[in-house]
Symmetry: D2
Subunit: 455 residues, 4 copies
Amino acid sequence: MFELGEDKPKEECGVLGIYAPTQEVARLTYYGLYALQHRGQESAGIAVSDGLSINVHKGMGLVSEVFSDSVVDCLKGKMSIGHVRYSPTGSGLPANAQPLVVHYQKGMMALAHNGSITNALELREELGKNGAVFQTTIDSEVIINLITRYRKKSLEDSLVKTMRDLRGAYALVILAEDKVIGLRDPHGVRPLCIGRMREGYCLASESCVLDITGAEFVRDVAPGEIVVIDEEGLHSYRGYSKLERRSCAFEYIHIARPDSTIDQLSVSESRRRMGVELAREYPLDVDLVIAVPDSGTASALGYATTLGIPFGDGIIKNRYIHRTFIRPTQEMREVDVRLKLNANASVLKDKRIVMVDDSIIQGTTSSKLVAMVRNAGAKEVHFLISSPPVAYPCFYGIDTVKPEKLIANQLDIEGIQEFVGADSLHYISKEGLLRALGTDCVCLACFDGVYPIPI
Amino acid sequence: MFELGEDKPKEECGVLGIYAPTQEVARLTYYGLYALQHRGQESAGIAVSDGLSINVHKGMGLVSEVFSDSVVDCLKGKMSIGHVRYSPTGSGLPANAQPLVVHYQKGMMALAHNGSITNALELREELGKNGAVFQTTIDSEVIINLITRYRKKSLEDSLVKTMRDLRGAYALVILAEDKVIGLRDPHGVRPLCIGRMREGYCLASESCVLDITGAEFVRDVAPGEIVVIDEEGLHSYRGYSKLERRSCAFEYIHIARPDSTIDQLSVSESRRRMGVELAREYPLDVDLVIAVPDSGTASALGYATTLGIPFGDGIIKNRYIHRTFIRPTQEMREVDVRLKLNANASVLKDKRIVMVDDSIIQGTTSSKLVAMVRNAGAKEVHFLISSPPVAYPCFYGIDTVKPEKLIANQLDIEGIQEFVGADSLHYISKEGLLRALGTDCVCLACFDGVYPIPI
Amino acid sequence: MFELGEDKPKEECGVLGIYAPTQEVARLTYYGLYALQHRGQESAGIAVSDGLSINVHKGMGLVSEVFSDSVVDCLKGKMSIGHVRYSPTGSGLPANAQPLVVHYQKGMMALAHNGSITNALELREELGKNGAVFQTTIDSEVIINLITRYRKKSLEDSLVKTMRDLRGAYALVILAEDKVIGLRDPHGVRPLCIGRMREGYCLASESCVLDITGAEFVRDVAPGEIVVIDEEGLHSYRGYSKLERRSCAFEYIHIARPDSTIDQLSVSESRRRMGVELAREYPLDVDLVIAVPDSGTASALGYATTLGIPFGDGIIKNRYIHRTFIRPTQEMREVDVRLKLNANASVLKDKRIVMVDDSIIQGTTSSKLVAMVRNAGAKEVHFLISSPPVAYPCFYGIDTVKPEKLIANQLDIEGIQEFVGADSLHYISKEGLLRALGTDCVCLACFDGVYPIPI
Amino acid sequence: MFELGEDKPKEECGVLGIYAPTQEVARLTYYGLYALQHRGQESAGIAVSDGLSINVHKGMGLVSEVFSDSVVDCLKGKMSIGHVRYSPTGSGLPANAQPLVVHYQKGMMALAHNGSITNALELREELGKNGAVFQTTIDSEVIINLITRYRKKSLEDSLVKTMRDLRGAYALVILAEDKVIGLRDPHGVRPLCIGRMREGYCLASESCVLDITGAEFVRDVAPGEIVVIDEEGLHSYRGYSKLERRSCAFEYIHIARPDSTIDQLSVSESRRRMGVELAREYPLDVDLVIAVPDSGTASALGYATTLGIPFGDGIIKNRYIHRTFIRPTQEMREVDVRLKLNANASVLKDKRIVMVDDSIIQGTTSSKLVAMVRNAGAKEVHFLISSPPVAYPCFYGIDTVKPEKLIANQLDIEGIQEFVGADSLHYISKEGLLRALGTDCVCLACFDGVYPIPI
């Protein structure tokens, strides 16, 4: 997807599972995927089981582009899983859309995956030596091949064996003919939560899905836990000896929806607190606080409120710039960022401004934003970032760019400030971030290069 | 368009004209239409002239759906006009997409229209008596038939004559082979502004377009003015003796983009001030102010800041609910509003809340929102509206509903409060609104039933 | 449409009208248009009336591309007209699809047209002087403007007046709210026939449509006749003093379907007789007769049977080369004709061949066919044409090419023979053609340049 | 595909392979697939290799629907394989489109298949026991899993081992990164031929493809032969001890294009000879011979010529009835067959008719055709069939219907004659068919139930 005026890490996927024999599970999944659409706009898919066999529909595009009313109607079943995907440029192949559905000696199975298996190539090679063939380039196919090969007795058993082989970050939902399974990697890097429905259960990457599927939040799936939902209810298995939790900090900073709660911390509350921490660390004397919408807004409000500075809508986001947008030609590059994010001159004119964003990746968009705000009449532009400098790539399911393209990997803060052209530039400190999150149990690898899982 | 969870009046159209022989006018118009997309999502169109003949492409859907790169490339020209349209249910015919292009005895002409001609039927009948045939049901076809029938000498001349016949609210852009023309009704109800480009001019319904087309704001077209742009520059004609300006108040309240300035008043500033007025009129003792996004946000912030109450993102809007969204079945109506607007429980829990919205039309969405906020744990929900009660239909280009469906036409404020289920409900006073707008020269017909133009 | 390997004149349209209140007229029209699809593949459309108002659906492409089941279902009505269109390169605009539907002072009307109005420009100008505006470039719009302007009392009356103004060849079907009308130009150049249905009537360009709509052939509409079908049955009016009939000879030679009968002559029988005449005129001593399928087949069989020479399928036509076919690049031009028409070597090898085609327009395809047959092993290739040389353009609704591109306009028969590379080349004589058609009342303008209608 | 008015067995697939490093192989394959389109209209696909990796594009629909110019352009490579597919109702899943492309431990491989593996289920189970997962329900996936599992040393080696396991009829084309491979089952039931190109080779289900790809016919692949084409040229391997050849007789009777030659016999010549044999066996005294187009035409001409009876185009086929055709509703079933095949009354009236068709499967279409011809005025209708009664299902890649739906499985000839309503009905004798084919080495299982390969 071409995300004009957005130079942000991309979550690679969102997943969702529903076990609710008395409800229209495909339709619920369809609506639930809307609540996960921000986690991936490249492809979407839903697999349903009626208890005997599994049916799937998936395709390239937004949920609204992939599914029509009649398609959803055709997906009859008692349980289902769904998936939305973003994928780095180049691998956006139709064959890679999920859920992946297979026939194997014990029947059918569908699987959808959020995260990244760091030893996927290795596993793929080993499986290949035993004759496995692969029709896609996604990790899900490796995982499913492991599961089916280990499958002697119970599916749960083979999942435990599979988890022994897998390295990386993953939240999986699996659909067998008669059950829905969710599991989360031993560090719990990628989120997955459980909701209780009228008659059944719902699993989802984010709790905001539960509000749509009519489920009540129960708890997060624990790191290394396997959760099985079938006609007898919900069963929990230990899939892997529990390691220290390492929830992805970037989910709070940028990816997740504000109305989601992950591992007991509200996303919107965490963002507000990042603003409060920024205010504590950098109490600047300005006339107005503005945000780069949408993900900078909560922090900006936290900052403004703490310091008693007015907050204004200094940058307006166009809600209609989507996938099919025609990229401006070289001569029109001036239009570029402005199409998605436009400075609101009447608010900015003659003001000293603090602009809050959640992160800087390559810096190009940031520099355009600073220039735009300045051209709109701002006297000073101070740039506050609610995350520490992103200086290292993520190997756990978030698509950043190559290290040499990460501006914080190449320049120090002074250099970045010069590059973006701000009067001052301040990142929240790692300590400030941890205070805002209220826990040390997070993965900060993209900030400090300390990778909790071998890569 | 199915606007789930939005029960708002709809602007019927946005228009745009560019005269810039040295630039890619179609591409500029394409980008400019993105900045007007909020004014109409049903159809989009662009007409270009290369100085000799006029070429057009239009169709049903969003700008991104109607235009592809190759289509835009095919539209070669020196000047252009563009249009986006919303239209009330039922008349959404492909034939009604604009701009309308005709061949007549003096050549070709294209026209795009925002507004509503109140005596259109009458004019249509009269033209019909003289043998005119109509292929659409839009006012633009009536206007274009008047213009061509009056055309003896100059086009400008026939426009003056046409304006004598037209009653209603209108902002028009017209493309002749060698010029672009803009005109605004004698009361200036619908907006239209002028921007100066590197070599040329730009006309647009809203000034936020100028930021995209690279134009510098010059001024608004005056009520009753005809503005002609050709190779000799910009010429102004008086099309109709100037009547008192009656800018549509609803543009400020709900329709226009915050980064637009209409008739010298910034939209975002006007909304902030409505919040300030609400604070003055109803200084409630609550814990948190929230907004119904997006149009209630600016007022909510104005209210919160004035009273020193924290503002929080209590309602989260899903950005991916668009035209092709599949409407929930009856059994899933509970999902309905929630899909587009979801309560953020972690922010609302145990709080006394002021929720600010810009208007109430039928009241059904409002009642669902109040219930949703309450279910999310709010202790009290006070509902503030930044417009007076909408009790009368608009005949000037905004699609409200039938009077008997307007809740404020049927119930008094107490009744409405009961219907929506709020602990208290307060509308801004008409005086408060005028103070916020800083002028009396506005049309308030939908609030007080005083129609400045005969209907 | 890109008609690979076919270098033939193109009929511009086919029309169809049904009055049958008790039947699903839209569905019947849809199926009927399939039987006219060979007359135009560029656009298709159906208009229906339920007695009160007219509804239309039309678009670019084949009937199967323009209509879906649900679209046909939406077209509820008691009577209908339909249209398929081919159009010369460049004017293939969506706006030009028919039927054309208008609102005018007496209600609504739809019109579909096959043919060409030779004084259309003149009429257009005159109408323009009276203020008419045109939204398309098709003759139908001129005709409909004339009709509505003349309409004082009855529609029939205004049709008579309109026919006085029209010059050219035309077969029209018109849909008013409560009747279906058909009319044919005073010379009857373009075909139109009448069928009686269970309860109602059907009008169609070709009688093969009647087999589909379940109608029984009644008769052809007479030259200059106006046929009105309403709840009281079928009424005939003289629209114009009857001139001498001049049925288009090319309908028999190439355009019409073999199972149609036009002006009392079976198309397939006429083609067989052309072969018989060719046998009489050029009784060659060869081993095998082959045809260029499909339109050369009947004549080739007539020729072979008459002379007692075996007929073989020497050229095989690919049935799947359609509109969306990707044109071969320059380097692959060798593939060109062969993709649509392939020589059947096993049949041709070492044989002396007579190859029969119905006409030669530019000669390029013919020369490729001769070469292909020769390369496939034929010892001699004699080329017989079942029409006289096409040396003049058609102005009556058939799209030939510019005169200077007509090979028979530039070269004599010897020159053409040399160009196409045949061992001998023979055209049927004009007399032979007339004998085959059994009448002199045909238009032969494209052969002899004698135009029965002023141009 | 809904084949209206055609009640014929369906070939399930056509395959094609090209090794031609100096040419645009994807484009050649694209055009070549047009020449195989009659063998399958449900899906189409092309895989190309540039020597390093394999790229594929495939989808549901006709070749013209699946491929656009830009898609073909993206398929850069030196060698390629292509596939068109028909598939019995129900299994028409997008995932089943071919070629199938896999990654395995030795690299990538693509495979396309025509035919049917009779022990596929058995093999699938065995592979499943060893952990194989299947993402489709097609035989190709079973074959490819066998190949990769056997692959220790050379690919050729593993093919030999694979052929030992496979039972059934198959013609395969395989694309490795650096070679194209073709192979044919030990009985040679399904056709596959070799052509030499300027610099390279072409493999195809039918020789008519070679005319399009610019290849010269070399020979058929021998039963049980493996043909490998790489940069050193063409190599032949014996894959399986040669069994007696059993070319499918139905390829000659109905499936293959007339301009193809299969196992040294021209298809069009074989059909003509079937007509000659029919004339010998049933020299009826009639006025006219007609054919059910297209596959009955050659036999009808053979019959007519032999007996000196005129041949006429008594039934006209509509060329525009395709996949997207809307099926007539129950009330319009009378239209049914007639839409595709219409009687030409002017030819049939008052004649005693012999109508020749190539086969009868269920008999319903035949009975409608007989009635239609009779209603068009024929005095007598004698029905001749150029194949023996189809009384047994095919298990080798042709989709007939269930035995109990085969009319010749349920009724004797007298019963069939009564069912179809013909004055007399005659099938060619088995001996007559073998005489026409000039060989005993054919599979006649669908006529006599003698299956050369165990099922």
